[in-house]
Assembly symmetry: C2
Homo-oligomer: 187 residues x 2
DNA sequence: TGGTACATGTAACATGTTACATGATTAG
DNA sequence: CTAATCATGTAACATGTTACATGTACCA
């Protein structure tokens, strides 16, 4: 019955539908907040996957609601396909990090420009770390018993961002550049 | 002249061609060893990009060599396109980590199975860390003055893998599972 | 009543993946 | 002479991205 093994994006949608029927719009929002830190997906993709899964019987369209909302719900086949998917051996992660390409080809750049770029990215990661830390406090504060699975994936983000910052901070001067003049630390 | 802005994969090929003319085959090998840890590409893709870039004048085909080898070399346009590309602001990284999806949906799995999967992935990361450490010693031992850019990207891999292992080690028992019976640490 | 957020969807294309077909050269 | 490796390439399809078109409902 399953045309082809589910892809992780489609499978995730099925996963979210276990909480109840949802529209494409809701699924995009849910996915971006829940798994968005380590799995990207776009609106287009969600609508496409939903249409495809409706075609192969993994989900069912409900009646249109308020603003033309079109809720989808799991079918038994969808539940089964998800159960099978979640048991499979997950593939290994892919990381595509354009900044590392820029650094790898850094000899073709004026050092100051490379240093600027690196500094900007470092800042972005500092901000991301702050966001994760805030999410973590929020999660711990909100529920009396925080969800272990959600916490584990969030902790991955924290470990990752801390590692990235450590890495930025140990880059040699050739790459990080020196202090940007007027902006010196108290040390 | 540049049809569309270069994609990072194509740009990397141009980057490698700065060292001299190379065939698709060579480029695949070079790319996989030099940037393969944070940028994936396949053979098919390389041949496709080369053909496209030959069409738009960024590279030039040379004469067929020994085993029908078809060397490509940079043109001035290619050099210019690369120079422009490398100066651009690199996009932020994308990480797609299927294991985290499995954990996020872990409530749908028997805990022992989840623990097994997690353990297998932890092992794989331990091995990857070992490989990186070996590469690092090799790089430091080989040249009297190791390349700062190559070392920086390698160090990213080291930081990343260490962080991932730390993360694995602090996962709660619900996810990591208990000790696998006969396999207890001396502590 | 007009702007913003909600909501679905299509189109077009870029990129990534897998599998296969073909042949040359080399090493044993 | 035969298996392994080198080397190019195509085909087919899956997935990802961007841009756009359309209309609804809420709220200030």
């Amino acid at each position: 019955m399953p045309d082809r093994p589910l892809n992780p994006t489609a499978a995730s949608l099925l996963g979210f539908l276990h909480y109840g029927s949802m529209t494409g719009w809701d699924l995009v929002a849910t996915a971006q907040t829940v798994i968005g830190n380590y799995w990207t997906l776009t609106q287009s993709q969600v609508y496409r996957e939903l249409a495809a899964m409706a075609g192969s019987g993994l989900v069912e369209e409900g009646e249109r609601g308020r603003r033309d909302r079109k809720p989808y719900s799991l079918t038994d086949a969808g539940r089964a396909a998800f159960a099978e998917w979640v048991r499979r051996e997950p593939g290994s992660e892919t990381i595509r990090f354009p900044l590392l390409l820029t650094i790898a080809f850094g000899r073709h750049l004026p050092p100051e420009l490379l240093a600027e770029i690196v500094a900007r990215h470092r800042d972005a990661h500092r901000e991301q770390l702050a966001r994760y830390e805030q999410m973590r406090s929020a999660a711990l504060g909100a529920a009396d018993e925080p969800d272990a699975h959600g916490m584990a994936t969030l902790d991955f983000g924290l470990h990752y961002e801390r590692a990235v910052l450590d890495w930025f901070d140990q880059l040699p001067v050739e790459i990080r550049g020196g202090e940007p003049a007027g902006q010196v630390d108290s040390a």
